[in-house]
Amino acid sequence: MADVAVARPRTPRSPKSLTPQQRDARLGWALILPAITIIGLLVIYPIIYNVYLSFFDVSLMGANTFTGLENHIGVVTDGEFWQAVLTTVIYVIFSVLGTVMLGLGVAIVMNKEFPLRGVVRSIILLPYVAPVIATVFAWQFIFDPVRGIFVHLTVEVLGIVQDRFNLIGNPKTSIIVAVVYSIWKNFPFAYLMILSRLQAIDASLYEAAEIDGAGAWHRFIHITLPELQFIIGSLVLLRVIWNFNKFEEVYLITENVKVLSIYTYLTAFTGSLDLGRGATLAVIQFLILLIFIIYYVKKVLKW
């Protein structure tokens, strides 16, 4: 850019008149300024303010008291915090793996020609576009211990289980429901991204492999997967970020799965309203995620 500007003949002009490049640059800034302002106000300022708050004992009515690292030490020495971290890690690993694998499977099936494929392809998107609250209510009805179809089927019809049970309510099993719900809700997103890449794979690659005598499994391992490597890599990254911070999909379906975001919410906004501690939790959650992203991008994606 600069080279081009230098190459142009310089003519004397008043300070107000600009080169077309400068004018372009100004226009560029003017165009992105609203976006920068909004991001600055709504994202960067709250993050900085949040970090600032984490050093204080926040009072809603009076002044905040500076407490240094007291909040941070309190958090990392708290067993409940580590329990929440563990829950979050389990939730993220299983929900992301499930989402990507189901999305991959469905995408491969949907890449084949069959009658009414267009209709099926759009129906598959439904869980992703349906409002969380509506699907959560449906799931709660399904797993209701007294009236739910799931318990009716497993206990009365199939007799797999002896006694009626509350899968969502039981603190030991509720995380299973939360993970399965997340997979069901989000697999269409993975499916969409993978399918679009699948459709772009050159068919001649498969033909050549087939001539060389490669079976379906080998074609999948040696052609499909390498072609999908980057799309799956980005997919995992996105889903980890989203599921790590997930609040509503977990909180609405069951109150027993205390992932980090819910633990933060409970600490900050219920009971005695410990906003300073809540801010600290948010900062730590942000740091954990940041470290993961840097590691993942460098080592796994090798960007």
Partner: protein, 452 residues
């Protein structure tokens, strides 16, 4: 139009019964702060005020809505500014708190209650707002809701079981009716970490004379009585539907799958009126839904055990009172007393209570015999009849809370309630299998933390 007709009706009947005297001394203007901020309730109150003003041209009342959560702070601010209203609607806890701070006219209140007749009130409602000496009162109870165990009287009769009003009877019936194989459950008590659980538990704890605080505010939570109540509650929880449960599971009862459930009198219209029961599921957002299953016989087969007895009888309810904040002008207090006198006349009282059938129950037992009271606009009470209504409102005879001990309001009890320490403890014990002693120790530590 309806309002005007109602006004004439009330005016006419009040004149006919001649219960309001016309004598007056001079023009007085007073403020009436109400927590009934909904527009239709304000309209009903205004009708009552207009009628009163016609009967008492020398008194004018300005109705001012104050959201319930703001009442205490607004009163404190008004007291500081020296312009307290002469008349205010106060939740019992708020009344006691303001009374302890000296914002309420105890003499005027006590005189009023004595004039009306102390023995005409449900004693539990009165005790809740008592100063603690058994003679003086902070505020005048006016209406309230009651919680208790609603149960299938027909099932109990068939099984030959006694009404669930003692620990033994409740546990026997819960065991008997709990048949998971038939998808039938014994009882609904709260086991989630939320307020409903504490409300259910309070009745058991208080019936065993277990409290959180003594009257000086010392924490006495970790007592043998409390432990006994918790152990009993955990035992009872075995006969609830699986998993943590809250008030929403009342639907199992409405569907005929449960024998007993804890609930307030707000359930009365759901039990009695099909459109209300349907509305609890549908509403305007889900017009297409057909609504809940409705059994028209259920209301006849249902009765309420409003008081649980073990060591002592314990009811649970929330009382709304009408109080006289202190005034510099005695005429203002006199005017407020006169207005309250009017509000206790049978027709005005019934008009007031009919704003929320089921939610607003009379604190005077005699009202349930009044034919006009039975004939509420929604048609709820006709399904119950005077005898059952007396049984239901009878819960007000011995209301017990953790928050008011012998005329002292214990602020920390509200904090503990807001922090859901008891429900969290009960959730841990009933759902996570926590050891009772350890859970109690943890709860006690949390309470002490909170009070520091």
């Amino acid at each position: 139009m309806l309002a005007i007709m109602l006004m004439f009706l009330i005016a006419g009947t009040v004149f006919a019964t001649g219960e309001v005297e016309g004598a007056s001394t001079g023009p007085v203007e007073i403020e009436f702060w109400t927590t009934l901020t909904e527009s239709d309730r304000m309209a009903t109150l205004q009708v009552l005020i207009d009628t009163f003003e016609i009967l008492n041209p020398d008194i004018s009342i300005e109705l001012i809505p104050v959201p319930e959560n703001d009442m205490a702070s607004q009163m404190a601010a008004a007291a500081a500014a020296g312009n307290l209203p002469a008349f205010a609607e106060l939740a019992a806890e708020t009344a006691v708190a303001l009374g302890v701070e000296g914002l309420l006219d105890v003499d005027a209140t006590t005189d009023f209650i004595n004039d009306l007749g102390k023995s005409r009130f449900y004693q539990g409602a009165l005790e809740l707002v008592g100063v603690g000496d058994g003679r003086n009162y902070y505020s005048v109870p006016y209406h309230g809701w009651i919680q208790g165990i609603w149960y299938r009287a027909d099932w109990f009769a068939e099984a030959g079981l006694a009404a669930p009003d003692t620990w033994e009877n409740i546990l026997t019936a819960a065991k008997y009716f709990n048949q998971p194989a038939n998808n039938q459950w014994g009882i609904l008590i709260g086991t989630t970490a939320e307020a409903f659980t504490e409300q259910c538990f309070t009745q058991f704890a208080r019936s065993n004379d277990a409290g959180l605080f003594d009257k000086d505010g010392n924490l006495i939570f970790n007592s043998p009585e409390m432990r006994e109540a918790i152990a009993y509650y955990a035992e009872l929880a075995k006969y609830t539907p699986p998993g943590p449960q809250t008030w929403r599971a009342r639907d199992y009862y409405l569907e005929g799958k449960m024998a007993m459930f804890f609930y307030s009198t707000y359930i009365m219209d759901d039990l009695a009126i099909e459109s209300v029961a349907a509305g609890s599921l549908t509403g305007e957002n889900f017009e297409g839904l057909e609504g809940a299953f409705f059994d028209p016989e259920l209301v006849n087969n249902t009765r309420l055990a409003s008081i649980i007895t073990h060591d002592q009888p314990a009811g649970y309810g929330v009382i709304d009172t009408l109080g006289f904040p202190k005034q510099t002008d005695p005429a203002a207090t006199a005017a407020a007393q006169k207005f309250l006198q009017y509000l206790f006349t049978p027709n005005a009282y019934v008009t007031f209570l009919h704003m929320a059938p089921g939610g607003m129950n009379p604190v005077l037992p005699e009202v349930t015999d009044n034919p006009r009271f039975l004939n509420d606009p929604k048609g709820v009470y006709t399904h119950y009849g005077p005898e059952k209504l007396a049984e239901i409102t009878g819960g007000l005879e011995s209301i017990q809370t953790f928050g008011i001990v012998e005329g002292n309001r214990i602020d920390a009890a509200s904090l503990i309630f807001a922090q859901q320490i008891l429900p969290q403890m009960l959730y841990a014990i009933t759902q996570e299998g926590a050891d009772i002693d350890r859970a109690m120790a943890a709860a006690e530590a949390a309470m002490r933390d909170l009070m520091d």
